[in-house]
């Protein structure tokens, strides 16, 4: 998977693409943390529109992002979640913890 970062005015947009699984999660998590640490955003948006597959590793990634943004007293929005990934998030009840649009 790949993460493409765009940052402006303490808003950070991370565009995730490809398959999010355990194999790719460790690097993805490191990249996410580096991007957040570099931008120190007030608002973080995870755009999932180009994610082709996601298992529970994606949940850990999203919860990590949430944790990071809570430390910065900022907000997290997860958007454009494809059908399969949405069902994974729903099965885990992640919508109760994270704003998904």
């Amino acid at each position: 998977m790949e993460i493409h970062a765009k940052s402006a005015d303490r808003n950070l947009l991370l565009e995730l693409s490809g398959e999010i699984d355990h194999h790719s999660a460790r690097n993805a998590m490191r990249e996410l943390e580096m991007a957040v640490d570099a931008a120190l955003p007030k608002n973080l948006v995870l755009d999932m529109s180009r994610v082709t597959f996601m298992d529970s590793s994606g949940i850990a990634l999203i919860l990590k992002a949430q944790q990071r943004m809570q430390l910065l007293d900022g907000s997290l929005l997860v958007c454009h979640v494809p059908e399969q990934a949405k069902r994974v998030l729903d099965a885990a009840g992640i919508g109760r913890l994270v704003t998904i649009r």
């Binding site: 194999h23 998590m29 597959f53 298992d55 529970s56 590793s57 850990a60 990634l61 099965a91």
Partner: protein
């Protein structure tokens, strides 16, 4: 081949994380003969990904071992998936199946079994500490209208 299976395939591979993608794609390819819907295929890929990841992360935490993936077409349009490892085993299966429970560190969410349960119709976990774990899942695929 077991008597009641209409078709089956068994794959064995080392517990390297690069095989997670292979395992779920192979399962989807095998299931294609049952004429599944796109959603059903995605459910199968997701469940296989979770089970194989568990075997890799928890079965063999410190070594590379063998993971076996068995796929079977059973009467009634039922797909049976078995993921087996001969690794460390799970001391308390009940506890391991609880949502958010994990021993896998920060890149795991503890939601693997919850997702397998929700994406499949049946989930059976047998484990003997020190001997390994076998996860068997079944999913009945919706009958499709034949066009001819």
């Amino acid at each position: 081949m077991k008597k009641n299976a209409l078709n089956e395939v068994t794959l064995t591979f080392p517990s390297r994380s690069s095989n997670e993608g292979f395992a779920r794609s192979a399962a989807a390819c095998f299931a294609a003969q049952m004429d599944p819907t796109l959603n059903e295929l995605e459910d199968i890929k997701t469940a296989v990904s979770e089970a194989v990841t568990n075997a890799i992360v928890h079965g063999y935490p410190d070594a590379i071992g063998t993971v076996t993936l068995k796929l079977r077409v059973c009467p009634g349009n039922i797909l049976e998936l078995t993921v087996k490892d001969k690794g460390r085993g799970i001391p308390d299966v009940e506890k391991a199946r609880q949502p958010m429970f994990t021993t896998g560190g920060e890149e795991r969410s503890g939601m693997g079994f919850t997702i397998m349960e929700s994406f499949m119709d049946q989930l059976l976990v047998r484990s003997v500490p020190g001997r390994g774990t076998t996860v068997t899942m079944k999913k009945k695929l919706a009958p499709r209208l034949k066009t001819k």
